[in-house]
Amino acid sequence: MTLASTQALPSGSATAPPPGSARGRRGPRRFKPFGPSPVLIAFVLVPLLVESVAVFWPAIQGFYISLTRWNGVNPPSYVGLGNYHQMFGDPIFRKALENTAIWLVLFGTISAVGGLGCAMFLQRERRGISIYRAALFLPVTFSLTATALMWQTLYQPDGMLNGLLSGIGLGGWQHAWLANPSTALYAQIVPALWREIGYVMVLYLAGLKGIDPALYEAAKVDGASAWQQFRNVTLPQLRSVNAVVLSVIVIDSLRSFDVVWALTQGGPYNSSQLLSTYMYQTAFVNTDYGYGCALAVVIFVLAFGVIVSYLIRAFKETD
């Protein structure tokens, strides 16, 4: 690779740099004094092509398939918005949408508040702090599937959770957590939270580290209480991290397919069905590709606001 590139160099460098460097001497300093050469265009186009083939082209197809009825055997037949119309009368869709909303709200609030709480608690550098942080962060490295299977064991009728409940005199609260339609969804949010809080904590730890200590000193001189310092110094200073945490949480909760797929596959009786699991089931178990893609488009629409706000922030950064 290196040998070949040294051979190929003279031709590339002979054409590209001279006009570029001339422009660089005249232009403002932050203007990069290099123009694109064929090599550079290839550097951009090859990755772009890979992403186009693997992502953009399929995505366009996905939108189109959502307008068809297709079982994968016969050619797809165009039905316009028929699949979207079908959703209105589909009780499972309504349940999945409702559960996705519950998941977003519970998972989102608890992991944001819990992550920030843990970060503030473990913020100061002192002896042993890295052990505590590592303990909270460890589950982040597990796959959601392995996490789910671990918790499945703990949720068994004779598992840890019921054992703990009877141990503290709350034996009446015992459930078959995953088999009971009224607890299945909530029981599956817990492992996802167990994994997410450590992640959010790390994001907030970096954010807290970036706050100028002088701000706290000034607040103290003004006689601000701990709560006032939090309200008026910490929270405003964390604004950019908050935005990141929000998008991470929304994207992660829309991707929490793995937990539910590993534990209940949306059951019992669709009580823990999420849009992502319902989409997968519709498309790949019932081979109803058209309706499955329409469900995927709904997921896309739900994520759209977050995607756009993330991109706007990225746009401001890359000026």
């Binding site: 990069k32 992403e51 693997a54 398939i65 299977l149 992502s276």
Partner: protein, 294 residues
């Protein structure tokens, strides 16, 4: 990156105006609370580790919560060979290693060109690529499965690797171009005067200087690809080709109610990523923050 180098709050903060005893009491209080929190977090892992070495008779007879009456490391052997974790681990490495290497190569190429040169529509290109990464994968599942069937590459490692690369690329380009922009232009100009072309500047100068970012992203990418469930079950169908995550679900179906073997399988599935995390802890955390706090 700037966030990681700022000064420690501990040294900058004034010590509370209290006697040494009050301070010690607060320290003890903190460590009690923090140990309790860590213990709660670690409890599920500890229980799984214990269950994973108990014998089936012990678990069925004495219940999941009982103190261990047996030591049966054979569960790991059952999960490893009988449950197919050995084979699955090899599959995972076949997929993850080239996928990570190629993602970083392609990502750094695009990032290099987009950050160090005046490419027309630079910003738009970066955002389009990042946008592809932010798409919910669901919208791609059916088309990717169907397109790969049309092209006869369904159920191959190549397809899985290609999809993992394509889907992650945007994020890596975005993070790396941000990092590469912070490399001083003077270095590049000096190389240019020495007659170096873009490929040499990329391979000999910018890439070595980007090593911290590359290491961080490599640790992250490996974990993400290794832990992924959705893409393998979408583009693969043959049981023997499945990587670790879907193989764990097969094991779950195969060893129904053998909680000790399932626990052993989960532990095996978690070990590689935990090892990457422990080995590259600093890079790993830096990677999570690279895309975030910038």
């Amino acid at each position: 990156m700037a966030a990681t180098t700022s000064q420690l709050p501990a040294t900058a903060r004034p010590t509370p105006r209290r006697g040494p005893r009050g301070k010690r009491l607060r320290t003890v209080g903190f460590h009690t609370g923090a140990s309790l929190l860590s213990a709660i977090w670690f409890l599920p892992i500890a229980l799984i580790l214990i269950i994973s070495v108990r014998s089936t008779d012990d678990v069925l007879g004495n219940g999941l919560n009982a103190l261990p009456h047996s030591f049966a490391p054979g569960n790991y052997a059952s999960a490893w060979s009988g449950g197919g974790m050995e084979h699955a681990l090899i599959n995972s490495l076949i997929v993850a290693v080239p996928a990570v290497a190629l993602t970083l190569l392609l990502g750094s190429m695009a990032a290099f060109a987009l950050s160090r040169y005046q490419i027309p529509f630079r910003r738009t290109l970066i955002l389009i690529m990042l946008g592809g990464n932010l798409l919910p994968p669901q919208i791609l599942l059916v088309p990717v499965a169907k397109l790969s069937q049309v092209f006869g590459i369904y159920d191959t490692f190549t397809t899985l690797i290609a999809v993992e690369i394509g889907f992650g690329l945007g994020f890596y380009v975005f993070v790396l171009q941000g990092f590469m922009r912070s490399i001083p232009t003077e270095i590049q100009q000096a190389a240019l005067l020495d007659g170096a072309g873009p490929i040499q500047i990329y391979w000999r100068i910018v890439l070595p200087l980007s090593r911290p970012a590359l290491a961080a992203l490599a640790a992250l990418a490996f974990t993400w690809i290794f832990n992924d469930l959705l893409w393998p079950i979408t583009v693969l169908i043959t049981e023997s080709k499945m990587p670790v995550t879907p193989a764990l679900l097969t094991l779950q179906g195969q060893f129904v109610s053998y909680w000790n073997v399932i626990a052993a399988g989960s532990v095996i599935a978690a070990i590689p990523t935990v090892a990457v995390f422990l080995r590259f802890q600093r890079h790993f955390i830096a990677g999570l923050n690279l895309g975030a706090v910038k």
